[in-house]
Subunit: 336 residues, 2 copies
């Protein structure tokens, strides 16, 4: 483990992705990434009594699948880093309580997949863990009623609003070499430029992505073109446009190889998701599904994954607060 | 860093406590630990517009004081590990957004102080950070209205209920040797024996404390009598009694040198707190105030601090769930 520049950790030895799981709901299964999920659920209750319990089950499925694909058992995992959007992170606690793995709850809002991957990688690289799991989830129905309105109310959504993904992603990181490694991690600083529109998370989070990506490129002496994909998640259309514009003005060209998990998960022309997807499970399922599979297949060699999060609550916004953004960046490298 | 036994990390080099801050409210200032806080606030709004903002301010104060006492500046801190009880951890995000330190939100309910201390220590010991901060808080008024009833309702409390502390604690961990070191960390597993009474958190969390303490003693080959203080936080009277009874039956004697942050923060004979104190800020302020000062003064040499948390939400309990408990243990050692 070596600190390079001001904000970046170089992992030596690297942490390897040993297995992953990616599960999603009906709407996500109708999108362009269907083939990359381990399974999608047409019944978004997953047969449970509540949406919260359904979301917990998505995490259970994702973790069990990831551990199985890593050819490991729960007892081989030293730590699980998990978090989600629900109050007190109950999708994670109730979804994972049966595993018997030491549990470290993380809260990074929609940046949780990157935060968890970073944490698990640091623990593995430092020798604190032989294997560690990162997992996160979100569910459209549990998020809507907690953050916005009861679904039955049928409230209209603004054009800048994003659609919370019903999905979960999990990954096992470990010492044992595999096709994909985590090479560097840049944990982000909170950035708040005063955006207070809860229906425009993209605008609130874009400055945080700018800051963390700039930190990463500066610390490592790299540029966007050194990567096959610079992947933010989940800025959506509005936030991605802002990100590219701000970065371009600062001399970083993201026009050719940037994409955003919120733009990839759904077909915005055919599916009514407004500015794109969001929620912890959005980047979680895209990375643990599409990205890892594309890397294993050799279609992507170097991916800079920078998940973004909006660290706010309805209570804070009702009290006149603005939305605090954050982004954490992870360099995923295909071993050849 | 070395893993010993099944669940414990031995930190070599250790992480040192370089500075700490401990702030509390009026009721806490009327208790037996007043002399150990950096300051107490007679106005529990701290001059802010809301209790949530007051709680944020407690975190700001605690962190700034801890960094100052460590003779450091914000720019010397690589990571801040922070969490609290409020939905989406807003006390942490809004309290710390101005510091410009990479932020890693933690969710461990009332175990957050131990989780954060453990995280910061692992990052320091592994070389991922030169210095890192752990901080947490709680506020009686913000917690009551979020988890139970509006204060104005004046609801009666059951004898097993605990009083959420208005308090915050912060510590700077670093490489530079000091009077107090973190020697081992045991991150806990979730434990759920089916307790579903939100007014009896002590009973819900005690089994988790049993498990983590047993893991620690087994892994390290130590026993309770090897410590000047085995300090749980915050089981209160009910949970502490259960802990001692279960441990005694398993052959571990906690009768002579166990105490609990929830029993220490208030004078239960004079102050109306029923089964004792609770909330992230309870163990946070007791450890970052009383414990560190007693260790620096030479009154305590070895403290095993095991903070407990109840990983649940009102929504989960309304849906018939039980309360998931967790505990993380930290061995604090006085350097002589």
């Amino acid at each position: 483990m070596q600190r390079i520049g001001s904000y970046t950790l170089q992992l030596d030895p690297p942490a390897y992705v040993l297995g992953s799981g990616s599960f999603a709901g009906k709407k996500e299964g109708e999108g362009p990434l269907k083939a990359y999920f381990d399974a999608t659920h047409d019944d978004t209750t997953l047969g449970e009594d509540s949406w919260e319990k359904a979301e917990s089950k998505l995490q259970t499925e994702a973790v069990k699948t990831a551990i199985q694909k890593a050819h490991l058992k729960s007892a081989d995992i030293q730590y699980i880093f998990a978090g989600d959007l629900l109050n007190q992170c109950i999708s994670s606690t109730y979804g994972l309580r049966g595993l018997g793995i030491p549990f470290l709850g993380q809260y990074g809002a929609c940046s949780t997949m990157a935060q968890g991957l970073g944490m698990a990688s640091v623990f593995v690289s430092s020798g604190a863990a032989e294997n560690a799991v990162a997992v996160t989830s979100s569910h459209f129905c549990s998020a809507e009623r907690q953050f916005r309105f009861p679904l039955e109310y049928g409230g209209q959504r603004t054009p800048t609003a994003q659609w919370t993904a019903t999905a979960a992603g999990a990954a096992v990181l470990g010492h044992r070499p595999s096709a994909i490694s985590v090479r560097e991690v840049t944990f982000g600083r909170m950035t708040d430029l005063g955006v207070s529109d809860a229906n425009n998370m993209g605008a609130a989070m874009a400055p945080a992505a700018v800051r963390t990506l700039t930190d990463y490129f500066t610390d490592t002496g790299t540029k966007p073109q050194d990567f096959d994909l610079v992947l933010t998640g989940d800025l959506g259309y509005v936030g991605s446009s802002l990100l590219r514009e701000i970065m371009r003005k600062a001399g970083w060209n993201l026009e050719t190889n940037h994409n955003d998990c919120g733009l990839m998960l759904y077909d915005r022309k055919k599916q009514d998701v407004h500015a794109g997807g969001s929620g912890c499970g959005c980047s979680g399922s895209v990375v643990c599904g599409y990205v890892f599979k594309q890397m294993e297949a050799g279609a992507l060699n170097d991916v800079l994954f920078a998940a973004t999060g909006a660290l706010m609550s309805p209570t804070a916004l009702q009290q006149g607060e603005s939305i605090v953004g954050i982004a954490h960046a992870i360099h995923l490298h295909r071993e050849t």
